[in-house]
């Protein structure tokens, strides 16, 4: 999907990743333009996180080509790492440090100058309403508070590309709204490219410029929310998501191999 005059922030071509015999990412290709907000949707175990890990240098692809901000995450790791920020799906905070210390650590690691760092930390801790608890050890936080801190930390440096892997998982609607407002403003003001996953379809519909839907490691559809609804003749994005990925598809017409995959997925959870 090349667009005239727009440079691709992320491009992926026939990307594969196997774990043993199991193919988690099965030859996907897509492109995200610079300055775009791109949603990557799919059922549990579809391969979203695995794709993000490959794009962010944490995992080697089995096969295929990737570019992140013009750099290859396999062979130009350092340059690629300078290009993105990420909020992980799984916890990645240091429990034995305070909220403030986790933020400071990140700020220094990403080379944010002192004054700016302090300003942003206090602004972001305010945004996620953790200012009052900033000197408590993260170990003492609730799940939602930890999640909010992860997001605040991910927004601390302003990269070219921001990966958000289910950022709003387990957050209340107020916080979700505030965070998306802030992310949209970063996208507008700084032209930051946003690549996110979510299981809240309304969120994807409201925020994303374009959407790709992945299922069993393959991309089954991409386009704007409008286009997806049109091609699937659906009223909502949720309906078209279900049509594309199937209500019961795995039980109904799955081969024994698929069933094994499903079992395996269930065991992992």
């Amino acid at each position: 999907m090349k667009r005239a005059g727009q440079k691709a922030a992320i491009s992926v071509e026939s990307l594969f990743r196997k774990f043993g015999n199991f193919t988690a990412v099965d030859g996907i290709s897509f492109e995200v333009s610079s300055g775009e907000i791109f949603a990557f949707l799919g059922p549990n175990g579809a391969g979203k996180t695995t794709t993000i890990k490959m794009l962010t240098t944490l995992l080697h692809p089995t096969r295929g080509k990737m570019m992140v901000n013009g750099f290859d995450p396999v062979h130009e790791k350092d340059a690629a790492r300078h290009s993105f920020g990420i909020v992980f799906q799984d916890p990645s905070l240091d429990d034995e440090l305070t909220a403030q210390e986790n933020m400071e650590f990140h700020g220094v690691l990403y080379g944010i100058p002192n004054v700016l760092r302090r300003e942003r930390i206090s602004y972001l801790l305010d945004l996620v309403e953790l200012s009052e608890r900033k000197n408590s050890l993260v170990r003492t936080f609730s799940g939602g508070m930890k999640r909010r801190l992860e997001i605040a930390r991910g927004l601390l440096h302003h990269p070219k590309i921001l990966f958000l892997d289910e950022p709003t998982l387990g957050l209340d609607p107020q916080t979700r709204n505030k965070i998306w407002e802030y992310v949209k403003s970063l996208n507008k003001k700084e032209g930051m490219t946003i690549f996110f996953t979510t299981h809240y379809m309304d969120e994807a519909e409201k925020v994303a410029d374009r959407i790709a839907i992945i299922d069993n490691g393959k991309i089954v559809a991409q386009g704007t929310a409008g286009e997806l609804k049109k091609t699937t003749k659906s009223k909502s994005l949720e309906e078209s998501f279900l049509k594309l990925t199937g209500h019961h598809i795995r039980e109904e017409n799955s081969s024994p191999k698929d069933r094994m995959r499903l079992d395996r997925r269930l065991w992992r959870r």
């Binding site: 790492r81 799984d90 990645s92 905070l93 034995e96 440090l97 210390e101």
Partner: protein
């Protein structure tokens, strides 16, 4: 604030905040000091070795540093399990810097533990032979700490979880300690034991501490310095490489 500094500071804060671990890690060295020091003391004296505490204290100090350093290094596994390792791995920081930052912090912690044990050994009768050499003794303590923190880190970066920990404890840490000349002098030993001791990096650390604290050396401190220094560099290089290979 530099990258190395925050990584160093993080290790120190974690150390300071986990007092039980801090105290727990002193248990074994102190047990060795007291049980062996007083238990073998009379025999050692009869055999003409002199005051055993005088011999044992530098060895037990080296042991404290070895344990604390390896444990700090192995903390990488916890970071992996709790998820924090991802945060450092995606950062735009060279792997050598990550390795250095972690290692400097862990080594500092190990040296502090070593100083505590050295101080306690002085309470039970150890005398430093020449106080002027104390800064050099501290230098060698730090070098030992660096080497083994780096080694622990390098090993841990190849492991997924703590299951291999008993293996590391029983087949690396314990043999390093027991076959290093920390408990007995490296003279008049059977050839096999002597060869193993000569291939054991800790032997050179223990020898350096014997030289600096007790005034006796088997290898000479230049040999000690060169062996420890060269190995530290090699382990750093290996560790940075292994860090680059980590997949999560």
């Amino acid at each position: 604030m530099g990258i190395l500094y925050v990584m160093w500071l993080r290790q120190l804060k974690r150390y300071w905040r986990s007092k039980p671990r801090m105290v727990g890690m002193l248990g074994l060295p102190l047990l060795f000091l007291v049980a062996l020091g007083f238990g073998f003391g009379p025999i050692y004296q009869k055999a003409g070795g002199g005051d055993y505490i005088q011999f044992l204290a530098p060895g037990v100090t080296a042991m404290t540093i070895l344990f604390a350093a390896m444990f700090s290094g192995i903390e990488v596994i916890w970071d992996r399990q709790f998820g924090f390792l991802k945060e450092t791995l995606v950062a735009p920081v060279s792997r050598l810097q990550i390795m250095l930052g972690r290692t400097l912090g862990g080594a500092t912690v190990a040296v502090i533990q070593g100083i505590i044990v050295l101080a306690i050994s002085m309470l039970v009768g150890f005398r430093i032979s020449d106080l002027i050499l104390l800064p050099l003794a501290l230098f060698f303590m730090f070098l030992i700490a660096l080497l083994f923190t780096a080694l622990g880190t390098a090993i841990a970066s190849m492991l997924e979880d703590m299951q291999a920990f008993p293996l590391i404890m029983n087949f690396i840490i314990m043999p390093l300690f027991f076959l290093s000349g920390a408990l007995f002098p490296l003279v008049g030993l059977p050839d096999a034991i002597m060869v193993i001791a000569l291939f054991n990096p800790l032997s050179y650390g223990v020898d350096a501490l014997h030289a600096m604290l007790g005034g006796i050396s088997t290898f000479g401190i230049w040999i000690d310095f060169i062996v420890l220094g060269a190995l530290t560099l090699a382990v750093f290089a290996a560790g940075s490489y292994l860090f680059e290979k980590i997949e999560i």
